[in-house]
């Protein structure tokens, strides 16, 4: 039920993001989803890729600081109010969303949203009880 996300520390200077994508591209790794959190000094790039272990190894080899986080991929109906429904369930139960971002690809008629929670297990439980579909890791990497 959990998806492995790679995060990469980036100094805020020209060419660093390009370097990450170049390294991954040359290794034949496909980026499935990404988000970039930035501050004035640094940024954190979060990635879902099709080959997690290989990507992590290559980036570490190239001297990047790499972290691993478990996130949740949630299927959200692609219509007005779709995301609102999911967030409402979480808010009612008092589950805090640390951050979220959308998947590039659709799954059928639905969107896929990546969530990072404080309490991962509780969030998964809660959403599943409400009948919301959560993707397995392998499904996401292949989407």
């Amino acid at each position: 039920m959990k998806v492995e996300q790679i995060s990469v520390f980036l100094e805020n200077k020209a060419g660093r993001l390009a370097e990450v994508t170049r390294v991954l591209g040359e290794a034949g790794i496909n980026i499935r989803a990404l988000s970039l959190a930035d501050t004035t000094d640094f940024g954190i790039l979060r990635l879902i890729v099709d080959q997690y272990d290989k990507a992590r190894e290559i980036l570490k080899d190239k001297g990047f600081t790499v972290g691993k986080t478990e996130v949740v991929a949630v299927e959200v109906p692609d219509r007005p109010g779709g995301l609102g429904l999911v967030l409402q369930i979480l808010a009612t139960a008092g589950v805090n969303v640390e951050y979220m971002y959308a998947f590039v690809q659709h799954s059928g008629k639905n969107a896929v949203i990546i969530f990072r929670f404080d309490n991962l297990e509780q969030a998964i439980d809660l959403l599943q009880k409400e009948g919301i579909h959560i993707y397995k890791g392998e499904e996401v990497y292949r989407l």
Binding site: F9, E11, D41, T65, G67
Partner: protein
């Protein structure tokens, strides 16, 4: 191990008798052989025969680095060239380098004192000593080299640089003693990690590190990463080179100064007043046995304190505390005195930041700014912005609390701070540019 039991464990009274006899001889020597000292002593109305007790060292003039520069290149030599057998020059950490000279007997003394230093770290005949200090004008390489040979150890004179090759040699030749700067030791650890080399599988047992100030936290880091006992040694080319003072393996608490050859004092650098044991100030050294390059009350600019209590290792000679920095390394940030070593000690107690850092001093308008750049390693990295910001702010707050100076902490990528294969460049002062 104590190499020279007689001189390293002498009762203080006997030691002081020896020091006085040697002090009288050195004043006599420079008065007659070095015009600079003749002039200084005459100006002060001091004659060699005025030195009757060790306390009379106070009558002697100080010698500053500038005096050496003023007598460039050979004006301070106290032996004719036909008795000088070696010339080195200061490593030029600050300003222009100054040459120093050695007679054959000076080289003998140097080798002996460096052998004492290595022995204090537990090195002995049968050890293999990997010397990664630079060979050349810098006294580090050759100084340690001849000391190790004197001890009867086998020397690998690898000198600085070619880090990957050094790691290969450490694996293949199996040295047991490593000699280099502490910052280079950490760099070795980093490159070894990249190469997948585990220091636990090498034969290194002890590291003898000097030529730059480092903190207790850095010692722990080095010991953990290189799997050896890390000892601090002290020396400066003007006085001798390495072999002036050394920690012992038993206590690792202060550096034993070889007082039979050097007379230490600690002064307040502003008032030049002598400080009591335990008080921190500038270390001043008078050489007691040097022939070619004797110096009276040389102001080292290194900040430390003196401790005359006997050590658990059995040595009775005075110890100088781990260096607090150099009086000329001191940064004045908006009127507050800051030493790079103070910042380093804060970083070292912060988990997750790598031991490499750099201080950038600049001026915005009329205001000095100090930026502390630290590398984020995997231990501290988080995918959440707020956690990284908390890390930076935590360091900022600690520095503010401890030293009342506001700094900006900038987190940078690993390996983005330039590595040094000799002395680390910790400070970039853009105010002077």
């Amino acid at each position: 191990m104590i190499r020279d039991v007689e001189h390293e464990t002498m009762p203080r009274e006997d030691l002081e008798t020896l020091q006085l006899r040697r002090l009288q001889a050195v004043v006599e020597r420079v008065y007659h052989l070095v015009p600079f000292y003749r002039r200084r002593l005459d100006e002060l109305g001091v004659k060699p025969e005025h030195i009757r007790t060790l306390e009379d060292v106070r009558l002697l003039p100080f010698t500053a680095k500038q005096d050496l520069r003023d007598n460039y290149p050979f004006g301070m030599f106290a032996a004719p060239m036909d008795q000088i057998v070696r010339i080195h020059a200061s490593s030029g950490t600050t300003g222009k380098s100054t040459p120093v000279a050695y007679t054959q007997r000076d080289l003998e003394t140097w080798a002996e004192l460096m052998a004492r230093t290595l022995a204090a770290g537990g090195a002995h005949r049968g050890d293999i000593v990997h010397v990664a200090y630079g060979y050349g004008l810098f006294t580090g390489g050759l100084g340690v080299h001849y000391g190790a040979e004197r001890l009867g150890a086998a020397v690998i004179p690898v000198s600085g640089g070619q880090t990957r090759r050094q790691i290969m040699l450490i694996q293949d030749f199996g040295p047991t003693v490593l000699c280099c700067t502490p910052s280079f030791a950490l760099y070795l650890a980093e490159v070894a990690q990249e190469m997948g080399v585990d220091f636990a599988k090498t034969k290194l047992r002890v590291g003898v590190f000097g030529a730059e100030p480092w903190t207790e936290g850095m010692r722990q880091e080095i010991e953990k990463r290189l799997r050896l006992d890390a000892l601090d040694i002290y020396g400066l080319s003007e006085i001798l080179g390495p072999g002036v003072a050394s920690e012992c393996l038993e206590a690792k608490a202060g550096l034993h100064m070889f007082e039979d050859h050097f007379l230490p004092e600690v002064i307040n650098p502003a008032t030049l007043e002598r400080l009591a044991p335990g008080e921190t100030g500038e270390l001043v050294i008078t050489t007691l046995s040097k022939e070619a390059f004797p110096l009276l009350r040389y102001r080292t600019r290194d900040l430390t304190s003196l401790d005359y209590a006997p050590c658990i290792c059995g040595r009775t000679i005075a110890r100088i505390s781990r260096f607090k920095g150099r009086s000329d390394d001191m940064l004045i940030i908006r009127g507050v005195n800051v030493f790079p070593s103070q910042i380093e000690s804060v970083l070292m107690e912060t988990p997750g930041v790598a031991p490499h850092y750099q201080l950038i001093v600049d001026r915005e308008g009329q205001l000095d700014t100090l930026e502390v750049q630290v590398e984020v390693d995997e231990g501290a990295f988080s995918d959440e912005v707020k956690q990284l910001q908390a890390l930076a702010q935590g360091i900022q707050r600690k520095i503010k609390d401890y030293f009342t100076v506001s700094v900006k902490v900038k987190l940078v990528e690993p390996r983005s701070i330039p590595r040094s294969e000799g002395k680390a460049k910790r400070v970039i002062d853009k105010r002077q540019q």
